[in-house]
């Protein structure tokens, strides 16, 4: 239950912890919540791709699928999601609880 509460609080705070890009500067490293919201979450949990959160997926599987793009999923190159971002993202996805608002098969 504690984890679930933390998860919901995390969603509420998400936009304030996102790394903002400044004019003339490169995109800074993004926290996993931001990568999920701005890349993964457009499909996963929206009936386009399978739900990822709350399934305790192994981090190695998450990373391999992100880089190769399974089935209809595009591949994400280290130029798009850096190795550091993907490492953090895989741990975050693996540990995150399910979200009630997500749906999909």
């Amino acid at each position: 239950m504690k984890i679930l509460v933390a998860g919901i609080a995390g969603i509420g705070l998400a936009s304030s912890v996102f790394a903002a890009q400044k004019l003339g500067e490169y995109q800074p490293q993004r926290p996993p919540e931001q990568v999920y919201a701005k890349v993964c979450g457009y499909c996963h949990g929206r009936n386009i791709g399978p739900i990822l959160l709350g399934r305790k997926l192994p981090t190695d599987t998450i990373k391999a699928v992100a880089r190769q793009g399974r089935n209809g999923m595009p591949a994400f190159r280290p130029t798009e999601v850096t190795h550091e971002e993907l490492d953090a993202l895989a741990i975050w996805i693996s540990k995150s609880p399910a979200r009630v608002e997500e749906h999909g098969k």
């Binding site: 003339g24 190695d60 209809g72």
Partner: protein
């Protein structure tokens, strides 16, 4: 080719994923090199590129290149697989890489964000190329809220640009293609893509470029080469021949910066959906929409979506008809009706003030009701996921709903866009729909299509959806695509843009004089032929 075959098959099933990766890691790169490039040349180029961008950003073996190989298009012969990738972060690094490519005669295939879905993503037109991946060049260099302009690098995504505008409360819209979050304004504009606000013809709203020429020099177009000019993003034409077009759908240079116009957020935005109940209503809809578009009373590019295309976004084919059965109109109509859709669903919006929208709305309502259409707005369509999708797109909003198309037919993820152009006349569209359906039926594929209604033209956007995990279906899709291109060509209909699988084929249709002219330019500008050979059939 076996390594590639193993690689691609390895993407398919969860069970084999781990094994395929281990297998690949131990493979040498035995991929086909480009004509005239020796192993020593390739190795020399890779080594020199490492010296420019660092080891971390050069990918020169089969395992490391895997993320650049994924695409959705039919490629039964494995012709469109890169042999390496290099990812610079600055324009100076791009210039150095171009010089290295010339030295070793190693072709490079530039991509911005590499998400040209259904047109080949990051994969090249011919074998043996190293992908020049510009995604790391992702700075938003200038935004002028007064002029409504911006200057960006190729690796900036629509998501980055929109986030920047939102975070800084700048009341300008972006205009997105259907896969906005992960695609780039530069890449889409250079491929002459379209979006769905009044700024939807992306190349028309482009203004000023910086280009790395094939000899490594840096050129600015328009007003950009005038020292001290403040009008680089304000005035498109500059002086003398207008050359920006030469760098779209071509291989004459590498665009390293691009200017764009951004639409001021209007006080009122009102989206509409027009439902027509019959497949045969195609000419009625086009005839009704054309005067509204030509007069600019309807100012955005309309999407006239077939029910099957709409259903394919959020449904699986076997929810509509059992596997193995043709997708018949009655079954589609039944599913469409159950989801609040007609057989054709035409989306457009009005933009303006309360007064201007209120003045135009009765005119368009009368015109479209007379065509037999039902005029729907957010008031009637609230909560409908298809309406929501288009409502989002037509105000430059972001989603990836269209990736759902990849799950329509089996799990394998196969999509090739076929996009022939026609004049915006009802009879032409009717004939195109008939021809497309005949060819698709013959090969066992579905007519999942839309018309994008431009100012005076139609882009007939046909999604050829297949299961890429089934090698036989991939071969059939390849044959079907080729027949679509050639049969449409015989009627005078050619593509406005095409995937790496068909660039040569489409180039042939545009005629020998045009091809020779492009070749003359190519030989003069890029005598070693190192920039993206095969792009638009130019080698």
């Amino acid at each position: 080719m076996n390594e590639f075959e193993l690689n691609r098959r390895g993407l398919i099933g969860a069970g084999v994923l781990g094994a395929a990766m281990v297998g690949l890691a131990s493979c040498d790169n035995k991929a086909t090199l480009a004509p005239g490039v020796s192993k020593a040349d390739f190795a020399g180029a890779i080594k020199a590129m490492r010296g420019v961008v660092g080891d971390e950003w050069v990918f020169g073996d089969a395992d490391a290149v895997t993320p650049w190989k994924k695409n959705y298009i039919p490629d039964p012969e494995g012709r469109h697989l890169p042999v390496g990738a290099v990812a610079p972060k600055t324009v100076e690094e791009v210039q150095e890489i171009v010089r290295i490519a010339n030295k070793f005669k190693q072709p490079i295939w530039p991509v911005s964000t590499g998400k040209n879905m259904g047109y080949g993503m990051a994969t090249p037109a011919t074998p043996g190329q190293i992908v020049l991946d510009l995604k790391r060049m992702n700075r938003i260099l200038e935004v002028d809220p007064q002029l409504g302009t911006c200057l960006i690098e190729p690796g900036v995504t629509y998501q980055q640009l929109k986030d920047y505008l939102d975070e800084n409360n700048i009341p300008l819209w972006i205009d997105v293609p259907t896969v906005g979050p992960i695609a780039s304004p530069v890449g889409n504009t250079l491929d002459r893509g379209v979006g769905y606000t009044p700024y939807g013809d992306h190349f028309m709203f482009q203004c000023g470029m910086e280009v790395v020429l094939p000899d490594g020099q840096l050129m600015r177009t328009g007003m950009g080469s005038i020292e001290g000019s403040t009008a680089w993003q304000a005035f498109k034409w500059g002086y003398g021949p207008y050359v920006d077009g030469l760098f779209t759908q071509s291989n004459f240079g590498i665009v390293s910066k691009m200017g764009m116009w951004l639409m001021p957020r209007p006080p009122v935005y009102k989206p509409f959906m027009i439902r027509h109940d019959n497949m045969a209503d195609v000419p009625k809809i086009i005839e009704a929409m054309r005067p509204l578009r030509v007069s600019n009373l309807v100012a955005n590019c309309n999407l006239m979506m077939s029910a099957s295309y709409q259903l394919a976004m959020f449904k699986r084919r076997n929810e509509i008809v059992p596997d193995g059965r043709p997708l018949d109109d009655d079954s589609v109509r039944k599913a469409a009706k159950a989801n609040g859709l007609g057989m054709w669903n035409t989306y457009f919006a009005l933009y303006g003030t309360e007064d201007t929208v209120a003045a135009i709305e009765p005119i368009i309502r009368a015109q479209l009701t007379a065509s037999g259409g039902e005029v729907m707005t957010a008031a009637e369509m609230e909560g409908n996921p298809w309406f929501h999708h288009h409502q989002t797109l037509m105000q430059g909003g972001l989603n990836l709903d269209e990736i759902g198309l990849l799950r329509w037919r089996g799990a394998g993820g196969g999509l090739a866009w076929f996009a022939p152009v026609a004049a915006a006349k009802g009879a032409e569209a009717e004939a195109q729909t008939k021809l497309a359906r005949r060819i698709l039926d013959k090969h066992g594929f579905d007519y999942t299509a839309a018309y994008a209604i431009g100012w005076r033209d139609l882009h007939h956007i046909i999604a050829l959806l297949f299961d890429k995990s089934d090698p036989e279906q991939e071969k059939k899709a390849d044959a079907c695509y080729r027949e679509l291109v050639t049969s449409f060509g015989k009627k005078g209909w050619a593509s406005y843009r095409t995937g790496v699988n068909s660039m040569e084929l489409v180039a042939q249709q545009y005629g020998q004089v045009n091809r020779d002219f492009n070749k003359l330019l190519k030989n003069a500008i890029d005598p070693n032929g190192v920039i993206a050979p095969g792009k638009s059939g130019i080698i």
